[in-house]
Symmetry: C2
């Protein structure tokens, strides 16, 4: 049963990325995960939003672990490249259909769904903190690390959207090249 629950959360994450919040219905999640109809109501008695919240929370955890792993060798430029490579792979593997589940929820959750929005904000904050931690370790001030981490996160998320629109990986490559220049200029001499 635990495995079925995990599978449904993963399917919800994939559907959010490819079809947005409206395209992530229980019906679609059942079809995608192959889970039996009864089990979705068993595991998510509060309905679709409970499942979406869990998928967003899972993305927050997995994403910040991936960012931390990319930062492990202490080189923020290598960490940036790793972050961009992850997104590039996701775009290519999905033929430019898969975006970001947090963006999907933020842009489509209505004001009447505050829990969904809060879950997306928390997951974004976790990714941001993972990026900022790597920058602080490389010698940047707290304030500059925060600002640069916001810029990296924003620019990469925006680039993923442009890649989907253009059906091309070029925007992500272009943004990566400019962010590297920004990082090089920001880092203390000898770092990065």
């Amino acid at each position: 049963m635990a495995a079925a629950r995990e599978r449904m959360i993963q399917s919800a994450g994939t559907l959010l990325r490819e079809r947005g919040l409206a395209g992530t219905s229980f019906r679609e999640v059942l079809a995608h995960s192959g889970a039996p109809r009864g089990s979705i109501y068993h595991h998510f008695p509060d309905g679709k939003n409970q499942l979406v919240e869990e998928a967003v929370r899972a993305a927050g955890v997995v994403g910040s672990q991936m960012i931390a792993a990319g930062s492990a060798d202490g080189d923020p430029v290598a960490a940036l490249r790793s972050f961009i490579r992850l997104w590039g792979h996701g775009l290519e593997a999905s033929d430019y259909e898969a975006g970001c589940p947090l963006v999907a929820v933020t842009t489509a959750a209505s004001a009447e769904e505050p829990a969904l929005r809060a879950a997306a904000a928390e997951a974004f904050a976790a990714w941001h903190e993972a990026l900022a931690a790597g920058l602080r370790e490389a010698g940047l001030s707290r304030a500059r690390a925060r600002r640069l981490a916001t810029t990296i996160l924003a620019a990469v998320e925006g680039a993923v959207i442009l890649c989907r629109a253009e059906h091309s990986g070029q925007p992500l490559k272009d943004v990566g090249a400019e962010l590297e220049l920004l990082l090089h200029a920001a880092l203390p001499a000898g770092a990065g």
Copy 2:
């Protein structure tokens, strides 16, 4: 009748920004625009997607005119500030509910709606070209202007999403400050 048509297109644009593609139904557009029920089918006989396409096209035209107006005095840093101010005003005026209609369509249109996706891609391309033109006029090479314009567009779009998630204007301010540094470093001495 022409005025009612315009009003419906404007309402569709507002709803796309605040509620996403799924929240931009004929029913919502009628309620928002106050247009009579019959007129929406008269003006948009091909249905909701025809209306959304027109709203996206209108955003492409208006947005690139605004970017060009912000670039009119030949200073790319001033143009960047004007672009960011526009987004900041839109976020504040809507209590951080209003994002970008092109992002809404790109993240939610399915592969079965290629015309919607193409309209969003065209509008993004118009905004990008308006940004790149200002950078070329300031002395940047064609290639660098393209890369920087992509980065500005991506980072600002991403920042708008982070602002909505956080219910705060701070991400846009932080991204604006970093983009200014990037621009200053890129511009030939004496420009900007």
